[in-house]
Symmetry: none
Subunit: 214 residues, 2 copies
DNA sequence: ACGATATGAATGAATG
DNA sequence: CATTCATTCATATCGT
């Protein structure tokens, strides 16, 4: 059913080798060095994918991220952000890929159905209430309890293009309300790019310091 | 001081000329700016950060947003919403990092460390009072008058406990977001790569107890 | 080596 | 204010 992630990812399992030479042969100088980006090991990848595909984890919570990273740390250096980004990216790219893959023609013909896109997820998670998870990579009992099926947002992209939220022109801007900015609907038939600072600009008196000497 | 410009920092360096339009002429190279999304120039970033860190601006009001964007417009095309989002994102991300820098396990143990990083507001002027404010980027007398000291709420999540304070006595805590992300700012922490994940490593028998469903 | 691709990281833009 | 989505940059890796 899914074949979108079997290209190349079988690199070595060396986590991070601080053996970087001091010579920044890059374009600048204050470059990389040890700041090499995280390179997931195969074990880490395996676990992550297992969580993703077998446990339906898509956007792990802080708690989950913690557990996951703690777990993955056994296989190499890793930080919470790596896990966070991994899921973000994986989800995003899968969707992106699907967008391109999923016959566009189907969409334009309207024969597109929303059930075949979820095939990759096997939908096995919905009822975690049974008890023992028995998942392959149960990282801290991570079961993606609350988010399963959440991403089933219809399908791919097509309805999220125009999100024009027309807001009511309050006219009064006080505090931190932000929905009454003209930009809320910017482009919704307004000016090309208007100077949006007149809608509430009352221009007090202080004009003394407009120093542009930053 | 809060951005780990190690190597990445993608399109940040493209300096749009003080044009008024989208006329970007970076280095005589590719003008990638034509996209939809705002690409802050370095000057704009600098001012924004200055406002953020030196003036304590966190959630600028419409008024402030106006002034700021007007000011920043000298350095490139910008709209109010860009400013608005910038502050929102900057705050959220800083918070996101920080919020969990004070990892929950420490929190539950009361070992909470109020280790801060930024030089938030220097408690500027409570008002647009007298003469020249010495702030770097005083945008039209924008001094963050009303909100300084507002976020000086000590630190972690405390006012929002109602939402994510699901700390269980069993040593489990369901925070809201990532906890120990040391990535974002690194303004003060700046550890190469911390490994503070043992705090939740206490239980290896984790099996399914992750249910943090509301 | 160079170019293509995969993917980590960052962040603007939204939404709830 | 928290979370998520989309885009884009940067770099690691592989193929030729």
């Amino acid at each position: 059913p899914q074949q979108q992630q079997n290209h190349q990812q079988q690199q070595q399992q060396n986590q991070l080798l601080p053996n970087e030479d001091g010579g920044c042969s890059k374009n600048g100088f204050l470059c990389r060095q040890s700041s090499t980006r995280w390179t997931p090991t195969t074990e880490q990848i395996r676990i992550l994918k297992d969580l993703y595909y077998n446990n339906g984890v898509r956007s792990p919570t802080a708690d989950q991220i913690q557990k996951i990273s703690a777990k993955l740390r056994q296989y190499g250096k890793i930080e919470g952000k790596n896990v966070f980004y991994w899921f973000q990216n994986h989800k995003a790219r899968e969707r992106q890929k699907k967008r391109l893959t999923t016959d566009i023609s189907a969409m334009q013909r309207g024969v597109w159905r929303s059930d075949y896109q979820e095939s990759i997820c096997s939908t096995k998670y919905p009822n975690i209430t049974s008890g023992a998870p028995s998942s392959s990579a149960s990282v801290g009992g991570l079961h993606a309890a609350g988010q399963v099926g959440n991403y089933g947002y219809g399908s791919f992209a097509m309805e999220k293009s125009f999100r024009d939220c027309s807001i009511s022109p309050s006219g009064k801007a006080s505090g931190s309300m932000f929905q009454n900015f003209s930009w809320a609907g910017a482009g919704a038939g307004a000016e090309p790019y208007p100077s949006p600072y007149q809608f509430l600009e009352k221009k007090t008196c202080f004009v003394e310091t407009l120093d542009d000497q930053e």
